[in-house]
Symmetry: C2
Subunit: 347 residues, 2 copies
Amino acid sequence: MAVRNVGIRDVAEMAGVSVTTVSHVLNDTPQMRVAADTRARVREAAKTLGYGPNRMAQALRTNRSGLIGLLSEEIATTPHAGRIILGAQNAAREHDLTLVIVNTERESGDSHRDDVQALIDRQVEAVLYATMYHRQVSLPPNLQGLPAVLIDSTDKAGIVPAVVPDEVGGAIAAVTHLVEAGHRRIGFLNNDDDVPATHERLVGYKEVLRLYDIPIDEQLIVQAPSETLPGYEIARELLARHDRPTALFCYNDRMAMGAYRAANELGLDIPHDLSIVGFDNQELIAANLFPGLTTVALPHYEMGAWAVDTLVHLLHGEDEYKLLADTPTRLDCPLVIRGSVGTPRDN
Amino acid sequence: MAVRNVGIRDVAEMAGVSVTTVSHVLNDTPQMRVAADTRARVREAAKTLGYGPNRMAQALRTNRSGLIGLLSEEIATTPHAGRIILGAQNAAREHDLTLVIVNTERESGDSHRDDVQALIDRQVEAVLYATMYHRQVSLPPNLQGLPAVLIDSTDKAGIVPAVVPDEVGGAIAAVTHLVEAGHRRIGFLNNDDDVPATHERLVGYKEVLRLYDIPIDEQLIVQAPSETLPGYEIARELLARHDRPTALFCYNDRMAMGAYRAANELGLDIPHDLSIVGFDNQELIAANLFPGLTTVALPHYEMGAWAVDTLVHLLHGEDEYKLLADTPTRLDCPLVIRGSVGTPRDN
DNA sequence: CTGTTAGCGCCTTCAG
DNA sequence: CTGAAGGCGCTAACAG
């Protein structure tokens, strides 16, 4: 069963037709209309013989390898990459394409060039480029000429379609959730890197407050590196204030984890005395904290799938898809509700 | 640069030789000895033209696709899969092989069959099968005939080479670390599933105690599902005893996370009042707890690489490698030291 | 509607 | 030591 020794010729012979006809039937070539019974005979012969086309021969002949490359950062460190891969994988299978994945270093001079070259050498028809956090990148020069789509990043030159998370929307969902639970003093533990997420989540935060006529207190907006320890430190400061916030919106789940520790040390019960919302939905953290962390999920799976779908359109020469390069597509960041948000005690 | 339009013929022409010679030079065919200067001319021509062989044509001709399939569980949920992928990827590149990755459901009747078939349809030469926790599996029937290697699991039938973590060794490293820090009352928060890791880590635990003439107190060995919450619960019970252990060896990092919470609630300082060692080295947890969790790393990267290397040998028909199927190869689980182990306070 | 035929780019006997 | 020629399995003109 494993060794594919049956060829199109065998099918032709068994069905009593020529290989051409078999080819036409099996690929149902548009203009070539084949008699219904012939077609049935061919189909049956193929099935009983367990025929499957030899992709290599097909590829050679049609000059389409059926391979698309996925260049991804940090495959080994975050489950985010896994989600992108899975989304891309499933979409690829849908289109009968095969995904070839290559890990790439985040910042390393020409190594991207080499990784792209490895993919080109393997005859990929197109490439996906995935970063692990939302940012701008410049593409390796040898990618010129191959259709490409960016995942979780945008192209400096603006010539390649890109898909990114809707950071503003995610922040809006998070803060709205807090406001609707009754909170009015909401702290924001923001990242301090100059990346889109930092700015856009802040925009979302402010937008919600504005919408609900809650004055923006700049004192409640603090920044630090987006890690657990700095998150802990700034959370502690914020919560030590006499007019401490009743809720915290955290740039990511790691900072939220730090906030949990701060709350704990200060004897504040979550969600009773303090509500917390994170960002990223890192299951390993969010689901294992006490109580479970309500957080915003990043659409990694969806971005992977979107990217492949777009690539397919590009491959089909539907040029209108190139226009997508102008403005990145933004995908929804849904709120994942666990147990870290409650009604403010005193209000 | 991206479109590969230069063929072997162009190289031949430029070098003033026949395609045969070019082929011989570029593949340095064993018996075909080519004059040194001819060879140089060919090499140079190939380089200046930017020639690279068309893998599809090569594959068709040699009947070797250069593709190997990696069937992996839970690509999207744990970084473990990412590590395996990376290890396999790098090894594959070393051997000029291309990895095709397919996600597969853990338990789902015939879906494995279909996933394997998808790989076969893509003409993979061999397949790797990776599970996300160490256990026994039975292979899909259509895998028969293809070389295969198991990662993190063993074959019920015992006909396929397999590589697994050295659980006993990992446990020994962990508990030894604790004993050498001065601990003699060491609790073991074990998993309660009937999987190899449960039994083997216990073996390692007991072995170390025996080695150091520390009596085994069965009361200190407790079991629960290997999640944070159950870990918390049994840790709490254990730590509430008047003769509580001074150290805890936890089946995995999630249980250790639960133990941290228990310690915290009981006012026990880590590592001052209580030392903890985990297992898995889930960075997201281990590196983000306070203090950082000392834990045992699983050799996922190494298993991925080992599997590909073994596959290559199998592919080369080195039958002695088939013998590997008899006993799974065990790879080292190194201890990763962070900050959760200290000297016992009272002793 | 169906069949014949010519390659896709490469490797590989077999002759020189 | 080098070259000519056949064919891997399939698709796509082009004929019938």
